[in-house]
Symmetry: C2
Subunit: 280 residues, 2 copies
Amino acid sequence: VKIILADSAGFCFGVKRATQLAFEAAAINPNICSLGPIIHSPQVVKALEEKGVKVVDKVEDIQTREVIIRSHGITAEELDHIHSRNLNIVDATCPFVKKAQDYATLLCSEGYSVVLVGEKDHPEVQGIISYTRGETVYVVADSTEAQRLPSKTKIGIVAQTTQSFENLVQVANVCLEKSKEVRVFNTICDATSVRQEEAREIACEVDLMLVVGGFNSANTTRLAQICKDIQNRTYHVETADQIDPRWFAGVETVGITAGASTPRWIIDEVVDCVKRMGDK
Amino acid sequence: VKIILADSAGFCFGVKRATQLAFEAAAINPNICSLGPIIHSPQVVKALEEKGVKVVDKVEDIQTREVIIRSHGITAEELDHIHSRNLNIVDATCPFVKKAQDYATLLCSEGYSVVLVGEKDHPEVQGIISYTRGETVYVVADSTEAQRLPSKTKIGIVAQTTQSFENLVQVANVCLEKSKEVRVFNTICDATSVRQEEAREIACEVDLMLVVGGFNSANTTRLAQICKDIQNRTYHVETADQIDPRWFAGVETVGITAGASTPRWIIDEVVDCVKRMGDK
């Protein structure tokens, strides 16, 4: 079987940075925790746990003196709470997520009605909203939801860093119908669009497409959706052991890509597994 | 013959205001001139000339103590020149054009690369550019021209007031590919889009479409183009005497609309003429 592995598969800048910071912090002080999973990869989180990094859900549950802030950020309230408890912080927030937080805050302070293109329940989105300190932020998943927005004097737009550029553009277009001034900060991380574009190209050329990454990873799920729209034989797997040998019937070429939070070792295992199964 | 006359045909707010101001000013002081034609209607300009309003092309040609500034504005240099000559001003600049001038200036002062959606040679566009006082303004007619823009840190967009909304949106979309921050001031006058939308609807329903207005009127020319794309039997006429009886062969329904600078009396003459010819 022929394998096409995406160059852009796996860790993005922010995830790589967060993971490194966490492993380094744990090496110095194994009595440390992270508020929520550092990245959306259960396998990486498990590996960190083995080094001492406990995952806690709430600030009040923190029992260590040091806490790692996960790659997709935390809310302003959580940060306040951490500060009030005088805990040491290892800030692994992705610099691009931080930018989105800053721009949302800036837009609010300049009187814009803020529209955030993203998934309501994603922690990154929850974080971005929180930094506007109580101002209304309209979270819209797509242009259909944007259509329901009221008309506004001026609209400011930011995006969850893992959104697709097309979706941002479509929401911006709808906002132009809602307001005489629209200011867009394209806070989408290039890594996401590059990965999506490469995935599209590969999906067009193969008989079977595998997308590797956490089932709780929004960007991996979207990547799988993009591939599925092109190549119906697309499977989203978290690890190699989820690959079914029956998928390879009549398959000559297999494409593989992986989400931003998928570590190299898992991608390698998938490649090895495909080699074994595909050549049978 | 059945006639469908657009409700939105003819004078917009700014043109009505400018024409009124000019006739009023001429009634008080018939020794007055206008810098360029007040509006893009040769017939209105002629009627004003009969009241004493002379049209001059350059500030140095002004031989009166009072000058009317035309609806689509003048350049900053011309305004400076008028001030330096200590002339009285009747400012008939459309308030919406003034807004476009102000927003372009604001965007420049805040460090945006300014993209102006419009026709390079139109006096309104020349005026808007001039108020940015030497800063580069990229004038683009459409998204194809916008594609040639270089990448920029932040792009600010304004539009000639008579542009189509779709064109503005398409240019904005291209600019989103060119810059991480795009700030759009939709300076398009609603009257234009309302008129265009109504023209589209009427053009769909008729056998013959007449668009009335100055051949030097950009918005009339665009209106005719929009109708022509829908109904091939579309004719742009300036006055009733340009209507050809042969156009009515086999025609049951005639649509009529008119540009923003077309006075009521010319529209009425066209309607009368169509009634006569269409019923033969």
